[in-house]
Symmetry: C2
Subunit: 348 residues, 2 copies
Amino acid sequence: LGSTSFDVARAAGVSQPTVSRALRDDPNVAAETRERVHRVARELGYVTSERGRSLSTRSTQRVAMVVDLDNPLWSLLVRGLHNSLARVGLRLSLVAGRGDQHALEAQLLGGGIDGVIMSTVTLASNVPKELDERGVPLVLLNRYTESRAVDASVADDYGGGELAGRVLLEAGHRRLGAVFGPEDTSTGRGRAAGFRAALDAAGITLPDAWTWTGPFDYAHGRTAVLDLFDRRDRPTALFCANDVIAIGVIDEARRLGLSIPEDLAVVGFDDLEEAAWASFDLTTVRVPFGPMLDTAVRLLVERMSGKRGKGEAVVHPVSIAERSSHLLGSTPSPRPSRSEPAITKKRA
Amino acid sequence: LGSTSFDVARAAGVSQPTVSRALRDDPNVAAETRERVHRVARELGYVTSERGRSLSTRSTQRVAMVVDLDNPLWSLLVRGLHNSLARVGLRLSLVAGRGDQHALEAQLLGGGIDGVIMSTVTLASNVPKELDERGVPLVLLNRYTESRAVDASVADDYGGGELAGRVLLEAGHRRLGAVFGPEDTSTGRGRAAGFRAALDAAGITLPDAWTWTGPFDYAHGRTAVLDLFDRRDRPTALFCANDVIAIGVIDEARRLGLSIPEDLAVVGFDDLEEAAWASFDLTTVRVPFGPMLDTAVRLLVERMSGKRGKGEAVVHPVSIAERSSHLLGSTPSPRPSRSEPAITKKRA
């Protein structure tokens, strides 16, 4: 609805470049023309970019978001973060968190960055410690590191793993497998530990032959299913450490002619948009990314304005988005007993 | 493989904060300690972030990428662009291209931006003109604008629309519909025009009742199928102006109990990663995003170094990724004639 420099030019009877120069008070433009252009701009409510610039340099600082561009989750995090930052007048720079640690540090320390949100750390990463030592405001998002108490906004990965286990057990599954994430991330490790705990509590064994550990990606899910397909003995359900792995599992299962959930039930983790698509209808652990992102931004803003002392990890509770992919077999009523050789009562 | 400040601290027998201070030549650190820390750092090959900083400020400039965060294509563009920019020592800032034009201009002009790549323009947008007038190096990516000859790196949208029409005609479809993109974008308009031209050339009518025009999103595809579902008369195939619309179409069709491609064939546009998933197996027009992004970066770098004169649009050729979603019915051999009331020979 605002006017453009074109409107101002037309109303003032000058060219568009002259409008720009006049509004910058360029002495090459006649004083009388400058005054006319300024007046017309005011009358038309034209906000010059020069005014925008001074407003923005007063209020705007730049935050670097470190992401793993190979994990589809990054786009969801960046989209949400852009909006959370915009609400508090911060801008977003994007930094890919691959490559070596020193290159990453140099990029984050090398000018123009007022704070860092990092979603790619491994448990053993030194980068948070190094940034902290150099006084760079930093918040970890989604994953945390063991090395030091920096601020972090994460989900209850352990609790989510437990929920995933329980929803499969309640559906009647007793022969369970799992496609876990990387052991060197807090998300990979926490989700696996929670899932194992839920099975333990129910006295169900998780056979090593039915677990896979690997990256949080589509290919990892496909590989697990390919590996499983040739076995005589198969689980009725797989817990997947994130939705991207789960989609890889579903996709490869379909390629091999298996039906979901009749031949193989699947539970994911994250609740990406894709999980709700009818083609997947994926039951999954819902991570509250909105509140997680808002918390990360709040912690960062407090840290940037010197209002925080010791680091703190804020852990957000998760829930289950129950769809159809976790169901047992194709029968609507629970099947009480079929041959279940893998069940072992471990606890009384 | 590089050493950390921790390694230097241990080898020099000082604390980590002391290492940082010593390498900054902080006078609060004893001269002898400073020398020892510098020597150990050299011996261990420790690259300080201070050195990283000076290297990076010499060679690095910041490019703003304007994207529409509601269109899933943005993540593909940004991921590719980040890598293309990194190869030439440029950094990426992310700017959401919604909101009003003046806010956007203020953000792009307000400090710290050395060039702009814009993927969100509508045909009538004034923003490219305004940036150009203010001397901000700019390249349009994926979409172009009518208003002025600025540099652009785009795909052959018209040719792609034609290809999509032809692949459906060659599969034997004669009853065709289309879920088009927005009329005010070059991609929406070009793809529609090409598709219409292919049908025209074959003497096939595209009934208005079987065309929908709307945003490039999942919901637009779903809505079209819902609208179609109640009709007595339906097309055997739908051309969708991008893959996200196509996935919405497939998903809603499945929700309604239709099989793809038996009950409804679908062709998309873009060739996103999801198109190749077994759950979709989507035949689609392949846009060469890699070369498009590389061209955009090349044009921008030339523009930033003052090496370019008049604006130029580089149009990249497209191809078809032929999978199974476009096939006619479930029979492997072509069905020569079933009742086809919508066919009209328009040309001899």
